[in-house]
């Protein structure tokens, strides 16, 4: 039999006394085996919240319980002694990890208080109604938010309870954290087949059609063989980098060629969700974000267009209607066959 620490015993006694409406001293005496079994008043509450201490005390047959005829749910009893007792009674009386604000013991007794929830393996970690399914290990607990651990009571009610009434004891409250997003409210859904698939298939056909038409009409360029000694004038990057190349003609290459792509382009974009703390997704609530992004799009589109159309020999400014287009990727490659 494990020695129960003094303070735990005291808390347990206080809780029990409050629940039963009897003096604390009497309960304490009973628990330590120094006093007679406490007379329980008729009007005993049926469900009593229980503290960790009481749970600990519970783990051993205590005098009050011994009034009760033989336990009818031995497996359930085992659960307690595996899970709760070593944590609470034998180890230092630490309160469960889930308990964010530990409640001072004195006030705790009447609260629903998290207790010793961190027993790694034992079923005590788990939240179930033990009464009906004593051996349920609760592994299907996934969707639960709040789960109550209830220790079993003997099926036969303690003295003073009407026939058929079982008491349940709240041992611990475990906040289950869902492992994936749980939709709180039902949403309006339709079957993927046929609704979404039809849409996707149409989109797929459309883009294939577009692509084939493009491939037939526009030929890929193939200029003269690569020659390291013959620099074409102008030399242009692929169109998706032409905006950057355009920037290079305004700013120092360190800035336009390295800082802008790395810090605004890559890191900056990755950080967007962490900078934009506005939870709303309604466009009217996020005018600033929408504006910034639109400026970004308009800016890069403009720069790219400048790079493609308005840069001629030596990457100098030129007008496409006057000097022609210096963009080999497209020019002269449109055929109709």
């Amino acid at each position: 039999m494990v020695d129960i620490p003094e303070d735990l015993l005291r808390r347990s006694a206080e809780a029990k006394a409050r629940a039963l409406g009897v003096p604390v001293e009497a309960v304490l005496a009973e628990m330590t085996g120094e006093g007679p079994p406490v007379e329980v008043p008729r009007a005993e509450p049926m469900e009593r919240p229980v503290t960790d201490a009481e749970a600990a005390a519970e783990a051993e047959p205590e005098p009050a319980m011994s009034e009760v005829p033989p336990r009818s749910q031995p497996e359930a009893e085992v659960e307690i002694s595996q899970g709760a007792e070593p944590e609470v009674a034998a180890e230092e009386p630490k309160v469960a990890e889930y308990d964010e604000e530990p409640v001072p013991p004195a006030e705790a007794s009447s609260e629903v208080e998290p207790v010793a929830a961190e027993a790694e393996t034992g079923p005590a970690e788990v939240a179930t109604l033990v009464e009906e399914r004593p051996s349920d290990d609760g592994s299907g607990n996934g969707s639960g938010r709040l789960a109550a651990m209830v220790t079993p009571r003997p099926v036969v009610p303690p003295t003073g309870l009407p026939e058929g009434v079982r008491t349940q004891r709240l041992l611990t409250v475990v906040k289950a954290r869902a492992i994936q997003t749980v939709k709180p409210d039902p949403t309006d859904k339709v079957n993927t087949w046929p609704h979404l698939m039809l849409m996707e298939f149409s989109a797929l056909l459309a883009i294939t059609g577009l692509l084939v038409v493009m491939a037939v009409v526009i030929h890929s360029p193939l200029l003269d063989p690569a020659n390291v000694n013959l620099t074409p004038n102008p030399s242009k990057a692929p169109w998706y980098f032409l905006g950057l190349q355009e920037l290079l003609s305004y700013f120092d290459p360190q800035i336009a060629g390295v800082m802008v792509p790395t810090f605004t382009g890559l890191i900056g974009f990755m950080l967007i969700p962490f900078i934009d703390k506005n939870p709303s997704t309604r466009p009217s609530d996020r005018k600033f974000a929408v504006m910034l992004y639109s400026i970004f799009i308009a800016g890069s589109a403009t720069l790219t267009m400048f790079g493609v159309l308005f840069r001629g020999r030596g990457f100098n400014w030129s007008y496409p209607w006057r000097d022609g287009i210096f963009f080999d990727d497209l020019l002269d490659w449109v055929h109709f066959e």
């Binding site: 994936q180 997003t181 939709k183 949403t187 309006d188 859904k189 339709v190 079957n191 993927t192 087949w193 979404l196 698939m197 849409m199 989109a203 797929l204 883009i207 692509l211 493009m214 491939a215 037939v216 526009i218 030929h219 890929s220 360029p221 193939l222 200029l223 690569a226 020659n227 390291v228 013959l230 620099t231 074409p232 030399s235 242009k236 990057a237 692929p238 169109w239 998706y240 980098f241 950057l244 190349q245 290079l248 290459p253 060629g257 890559l266 990755m270 967007i272 969700p273 962490f274 934009d276 506005n278 939870p279 709303s280 997704t281 309604r282 974000a289 992004y293 799009i297 080999d328 990727d329």
Partner: protein, 258 residues
């Protein structure tokens, strides 16, 4: 059954064989239980689910999706189209690989021969090239769609980050492919592009050297870009796409109505 000759008619025999085949263990093994191919498709909620569940590609999707997400105007299918273009590029790319040698002597001629000597060579090359441009465009537009919907907000922050990596990889794929025709356009576009790497503070020259396999674009660069283009980048982007699609579902599907 039997016709006038006391023989079974051909039609009946075919039908019998068909039934036998359909009930055979091989077909049984291939088709999952409840497959509409096995039991015939009648429109019912159950069969609608089976269609999705019994196909490895379809089951990237959940059985049901939010009604608003199905509207073309919501996603514009841009993410899906980016993925589809990637598949098209993979298929046409494999075709091109049969005819292309990544060496300074052969690369240019191979591309030229592709348009003259190979059946559909020119068409496939064009599809590959314009498909690549379209993919850059559609990924960019997809990103913009996601931004305007605020779809990067919790719990989808991580998927946005994955997305940015996908954008980078898409650009890298496109850029590394740009060099492969080994003509003046390819050579100098890549020279201009990689010159920027030289401006990286402190390590500029090292970065450029690693990228080009030398001080400037050369045949060694061609090989390097080829391997990156046909192997390394596709490998990495497929992994990130897998994570991306997986997270779309784990984060609760396409983001809610605005």
């Amino acid at each position: 059954m039997a016709n006038g000759n006391g023989r079974t008619a051909l039609k009946d025999r075919v039908k019998e064989a068909q039934e036998k085949l359909w009930g055979s263990q091989v077909v049984e093994a291939i088709l999952r239980p409840g497959s509409p191919f096995k039991q015939g498709y009648q429109d019912s909620p159950r069969n609608r689910s089976y269609v999705v569940m019994n196909n490895v590609l379809y089951h990237l999707h959940p059985v049901k999706v939010k009604r608003h997400g199905v509207k073309l105007s919501y996603t514009l299918c841009l993410g899906g189209l980016s993925f589809f273009l990637f598949i098209v590029l993979t298929i046409t790319g494999i075709f091109l690989m049969f005819y292309y040698t990544p060496t300074g002597e052969l690369a240019y001629d191979d591309i030229q021969r592709l348009s003259t000597d190979v059946a559909f060579g020119s068409l496939v090359r064009n599809i590959h090239r314009w498909g690549a441009h379209l993919m850059v465009l559609s990924v960019f537009l997809h990103m913009s769609r996601v931004f305007y919907h605020g779809a990067y907000k919790p719990p989808r922050e991580f998927n946005w980050v994955v997305g940015v990596i996908l954008l980078l990889l898409t650009l890298l794929l496109s850029f590394s492919g740009y060099l492969l025709p080994w003509d003046q356009l390819a050579l100098w576009a890549v020279t201009v592009g990689t010159n920027m790497a030289g401006f990286v503070p402190v390590f500029g020259n090292q970065v450029k050297f690693a990228l080009l396999a030398g001080a400037e674009v050369s045949a060694a660069t061609l090989l390097r870009f080829y391997v990156l283009h046909v192997l390394a980048f596709p490998f990495v982007i497929v992994i990130f796409m897998a994570v991306h699609f997986w997270r779309v579902r784990k984060d609760g599907g396409v983001s809610g109505p605005l």
